[in-house]
Every structure is written in structure tokens, then in C-alpha cells.
Amino acid sequence: MIRIALAALIIISACGRQSAGPDPIPEINAEDVVSGYSFLTAETQALQDDDFANPGFLWVDRGERLFESTQGVSQSCSSCHSDGLVGAAATFPKIDPASGALINLEGRINMCRKDHQQADQLPYTSDELLSLTSYTAHQSRGMPINVDTIGQAAKHLSAGEDYFFTRRGQFNLSCAQCHNQSWGQKLRGDTISQGHGNGFPAYRFEWQSMGSLHQRLRDCDTGIRAEPLPYGDQTYVDVELYLAARAAGLKLESPAVRR
């Protein structure tokens, strides 16, 4: 009897992060959720708001040229998507109905290249792919992030959530410790943000370049001295979904400017 009760207790404590430790970290209150934009200095905000000076537009411009030009053997992106892809980026990552896999914008673009354009796959860190994601994301600028988290996406959401709340690396920190528990406080000279992905692809001063959300996640993992996952890794796509669900309702800002 005791043994059964003990087993039940172990099962209960193994399920859900709320019981994962003595001091669980709560979610951010819905009314407190704000974009990383609000943690920037006025000068950086002004740079993001100026569609000419914002250096992210160099990638958006290039993405537009790529979108309009013939790729592979047959056609351009715009031969199918003649009205662009307004609103599409705000719904990614999403389940691909054909394969049942969760894919992000990068994955979707490469899938189109393979299936419809017979073009080569663009490497995750290539300037071409970054330009295409920047252009596509920019077309959803100002629209609220709205991802589907039910059905087949549910298990990806919970895998992403697990990653977010799991302590890792030599510093033994989880994403939640900084971005849920300590946002608004100082980490050296910087204010810790809430860790939303709604500005990505974004231009970061630290990179002196545009970069993908996976590049940002790798930087965070490196920062806590954990082993970063490879670009395009399925776990990072799951984290992307969790971050999007967590940021639901925030407006997409790409090309945002971040520190």
C-alpha cells in the first residue's frame, strides 16, 4: 500500500514543472508581457523605428530581390505568392500537414525551394536564407503573434517549455530564471528582457549584423556555458514554438534592432 502511494507520489512529482523543485518559477503575468523593444534605450528604439536608418532593411531589401527572382529551374517565390506572404510569419512555427513535422520559417522556405522550385537548400546561416526570412517576417510586421499549439503541435510546445525551464550549462541556469524571474533587472550594463522572439530576425549590435532566432538561442546557451544546439535543431524549433506561444499577442517587429 505504502509502495503504491510512494509510486503515485513519484509519478505526480515527475509530471509538470510546477512540482519540479521546491521553488517553481511562475510564468510572466499576462498583463506584464512586453516586447524586448521596451528594454532598449531611446536611441536604439529610434533606430528601429526609422525605416531608412534601421540596418535590418538591408536584408529585407535583399530578401525582396530574391523573392522576386527566379530560383532553381522554374520560378520565383512571387510566381506563387504574388501578393507576398502578409501575415504568414506571425503563425510560424507550424505543423506541416504533409509530414506532420513542426517547421519554422527557415524550414518552410527550404521546403518550398525543394518541392516547388527544385532549387538547392540554403544553409541555415546563409545570408540568402536570412534575407528571405527577414523579408517574409517584415511582411507581418505589426501583426500579433498567433501560433497554433493544439493537436500535433502540443507535444512540441511542451518540449519547448521543458527546454525553457530546464537548468543547464556550467552556470546551471534555465531560461526562466533570467527571463521569467529576473526580467527588468540588470545583468552588468544590460537590462534583462523577457526573452520574446517577436523581433527576429533582428539586427543585433553585438553581431553587427542581422541574425536568426536560433543564433540568439545559441548565444543564450553559450552565455550560460551550456552546449549550444546546432542551427535548425528540432529542439530549438520547439523552443521557438513555446516562445511564440508565450509571446502570443505581441506584435511582430522584424526587422527589430536589439543590443
Partner: protein, 106 residues
């Protein structure tokens, strides 16, 4: 070819003060950094910028290794005549990128 973005008003009244803006995509590698294997990364920067209005130089600048990537410049001039405003960037090894815009002055 480096990507260039220009902002020049398409028309202006004679005597108007107009703002000109120019952005070029360039890494501006300072020459002071090292790669992941400790090897020195060579300096690779644009060293000169020049803006001409109908052939006359109205603004020029020298860039050093401390200038950030994708340098952005904004400056003013007085609209005097209809003509071409040309922006020219020169690389440390002499390569030149340029772009221009027309302005109609009434």
C-alpha cells in the same frame, strides 16, 4: 556589390535645406579581432566617403577601424539646382561603390 540605401528628396524648392541619408552594407572588420582559432582577422574597411551634387563635392568623410558595420550617414545641404547627387564609397584597397539620385529643384 555592397547593398546601398539612399534617401534623397525627389523635389525641393530652391534654397531649401534638405536632408540626405546613405547606408551601405559592409562588415567594417577592424583588424583587431581574432577568429575562433586565434588567427588574426585582417582589416577590411571602407576608408573614404564622398558626396557630390552636380559634380561639386558637398560632403566627405574618412572612416577608420572604429566605425561600426553598415555605416550610416545623414547630413544636410541646400537645394540649389536640378541635378544628380552621387554617393561614393572607397574601399581601403581602392574598390569603389557608388549610387546616385536625381533631385528636381523648382
Amino acid at each position: 556589390m555592397a547593398s546601398i540605401r539612399l534617401s534623397v528628396p525627389s523635389k525641393a524648392a530652391s534654397g531649401d535645406v534638405i536632408e540626405l541619408k546613405a547606408l551601405i552594407q559592409y562588415p567594417m572588420e577592424s583588424g583587431y579581432r581574432r577568429g575562433s582559432r586565434g588567427e588574426a582577422i585582417a582589416r577590411d574597411i571602407i576608408t573614404k566617403f564622398e558626396c557630390t551634387y552636380d559634380g561639386e563635392v558637398i560632403f566627405k568623410a574618412s572612416f577608420g577601424p572604429g566605425v561600426a558595420a553598415n555605416p550610416f550617414l545623414s547630413f544636410h545641404t541646400v537645394a540649389t539646382k536640378t541635378g544628380t547627387i552621387t554617393f561614393k564609397w572607397t574601399h581601403q584597397h581602392g574598390e569603389v561603390w557608388s549610387d546616385s539620385a536625381e533631385i528636381i529643384v523648382t
